[in-house]
Amino acid sequence: MSDAPDDAALLQAHIDGDRNAFAVLVRRHQDRLWAVAVRTTGDREEAADALQDALLSACRRAESFRGDAQVSTWLHRIVVNACLDRLRRRRSRLTESLPDEPDRLADLADRAGRDDITEVSERRTDVMAALAQLSEEQRTALVLVDMEGYPVDEAAAIIGCAAGTVKSRCARGRAKLVPLLAQYRRNHHERADVQADGSAQPVGERVPANPPAEPDISARDTGSPQ
């Protein structure tokens, strides 16, 4: 393991007939792919099925990888597409499913977070339920950019759309989440007030890799093209 092959080498080894290479590649990325799948679908079973469909397809279509993106981006793209396909199929099956969503999501969040401390578990419940209220496109963009920390360009490559589209979907999604996460935000601020003076500092445990919003607005809009 000291000289671990990179992703592209593993994929090529798989194409060349190495029976274990693809499994090694998957193990390397499976937790992150799982997080994307479960957050995009909001459903453990759908996520498991979508992930399996997607990765089997990637395994069989390894030759279609063109090398113009990271292998991990390609894997994410296939997984995200599989998740969206399933969501669309489910939506067409169950037209009246909305009332079930919060319960199912709360249940999911509860199960997923049972080993976490309560606070994290509550946040997971809130976030999953709030994300469920967004359109698939907005949710996918926010999962990739805000939650997984992908740069906008890479999220665009994964989704298969323009970077501007990702930015627009992120903005619309965040706007819709403001009231949905309002209760959480108050808690968030009560805690923050202990150490801050009430000015709105983003006090997440992690700063997203691509901070979508900065307090210093004037610095941001100077470069806005359109």
């Binding site: 007939g17 190495d18 799982w34 279509r61 994290v120 706007a175 959480y184 709105a200 607005i217």
Partner: protein
Amino acid sequence: MTPIEHASAEQVADLLEGNLPAAKAMRINAHLTGCGDCRDLRDALVDVAAVLGAEGASAQPMPSDVAASLHEAIAAANAETRESFVEVVGAVRRPSPRTPWTWLAGAAAAVVVVAAGVAGVRALPQGGGSADSAASESQVQGRAAAGTPTPVPGSGAAAQHRGSSQSRATLTPLPSSTPFSAVGPEVVRPDSVAAAARRLSTSSNDTWASLHGRCATPLGSGHFAVVQWLGRPAVLDAEPGTRTATILDCRTARTVLYTTGY
């Protein structure tokens, strides 16, 4: 400057994301300067992203049962695809009495390939030095002489020596007019056939085949692979219906180099 009413959450979110035209961004910024409510909205949007980021950073590993079933499925897919080719590849390495290949007159014009299969078959080191290799070589040369277009410079003699660094044939992709069609989820295009061939011709290991999958011919669907044939890339087209395997010149996918039953 025209004063604006309160900004909407979407407007502020677009502003933060840099989505707005400069003039509009300036107007909203000016409004924010003098409006506490809208600044609070802006802060709320910043918080939303922070909450998502914090949740995203908390671990959510793949459950062990999901991982177990996933890897079981991957192992099964790997095994299944390989086995479907072992028979074909093995047969082609051991030529048997020939079957007529007239059906190929039409079929060879279009190697219609679909990447339903996976990966390549390593196995079977190329060449092998066996008697059947020599036998097939004479046949190849007979057939190839009839229809092969102008040899690519550097690919002829060098290609006879496997592993030679000179076996870097310049491959001409199939004409884009080649009538490919799909029988599966994805069409492999002429350029991917050429890319697979290029990989083989520059490969330093014992890779024998690359890019295999299912293909459709006028007689039904079969197996397809880009293989090393006498040191140069070629297309192996196997037809389970007639149990016929054909090796085609990779540069044209038309010129039949070799055909055998299996």
